[in-house]
Amino acid sequence: MLKIADTDFSSRLFTGTGKFASGRVMQDAIAASGSELVTLAMKRVDFKAGSDDILAPLLSRGVRLLPNTSGARTAKEAIFAAELSREMLGTEWLKLEIHPDPKYLMPCPIETFLAAKELVSQGFKVLPYVHADPVLCRRLEEIGCAAVMPLGSPIGSNQGLVSREFLKIIIEQAGIPVVVDAGIGAPSHACEAMELGADAVLVNTAIASSADPVRMAKAFAKAVEIGREAYLAGLGATSHHAVETSPLTGFLGTHP
C-alpha cells in the first residue's frame, strides 16, 4: 500500500479540483476516481461573487486535502501561503508549487528548495511540484520532503510524459514516494507513469476538461491500477532487433 508521511492510500490516483464545469461534477468525478487525496488552491474571498462550499462534500467523503501554494512566485510567498493553508484547513500537508513564469508554469527549483527546507522545519508535510530533475529530487528527499512531484509536461498541457527518461532516473533513485504530476493528458499516460514505477499520479485537467469527467475519472482509476500491476509483474526487456517468439528451426524452411 502507498504510504506518504505515515498515511496509507489505497488509491494511487490523486486528483485536482480545478477547471470542472461545476462543483457537482467535480465531486462526482472525484468519487468516481476513488482518489483519497485532492488538491485545492487558495484565494482572497470574493464577497460579490459568492462561492460554492467545496470543502464540506470533500471532507464528508473522507478525502485528505492537499492545499497548494499556486500563485506564489518566491519562497517567501510560498511559506506565507503554507501558513495560510494550515490555519485555514488545519492540515500540514502541502503541495509546494512556485512557478513565476505564467506561460509554461515551470517550477522554480531554487525557490522551491529554499521554501521546502523551511517548511519541513516547521512541521509541514511537503510535496514539492518540481521539474523532472533527479538531482533536485534527491536534495528534496535529503531535507525531509514527504514525496516529490515531478512533472510529466507543463501543467494542463495534456502532453503526457515528455520527461519520461528523467522520471525513470528519479524513480530509480528515490527513497520517498514519487508522484508524477502535471501534463498527464490521457489514461495511457497515467498507465505509463505507473509502469515506470511511479508511486502515484496526480491528474486534474485531463479529467476536468473531458466531455464526461465522471467516466474519464473511472478510466484513469483503471489505467493507474493496470499500470501498477504491470510494474509489479515486471515488464519484459526491450530490444532493437526482433527476438523470435516461435521456434524458427526444424519446420518449413529446413526440408531438403
Binding site: G23, M42, V45
Partner: protein
Amino acid sequence: MLNIQLNGEARQVDSAQDLASLVQAQGVKQTQVALVLNGELVPRHRWPHIHIQDNDNLELFSAVAGG
C-alpha cells in the same frame, strides 16, 4: 466608525468590532478561512481579542478549486 480595507474594498465598521465578529458578519465559515491583518496572519483563536483599528487592511482567504 472606522475606515478599513477588506480584500481591497473600502469599508466602514463599528469601532467596537473585533476580528471574530467582523469575519462572522461576512457570511463566511469561520473555520474555513484565514485572516491576514496588515500583512500578518492572525490565528483564529486570537480573533476575539483583537479590535479593529482605523486604516486596518484586512484580507480573508478561503479554499477554492485548484490543481
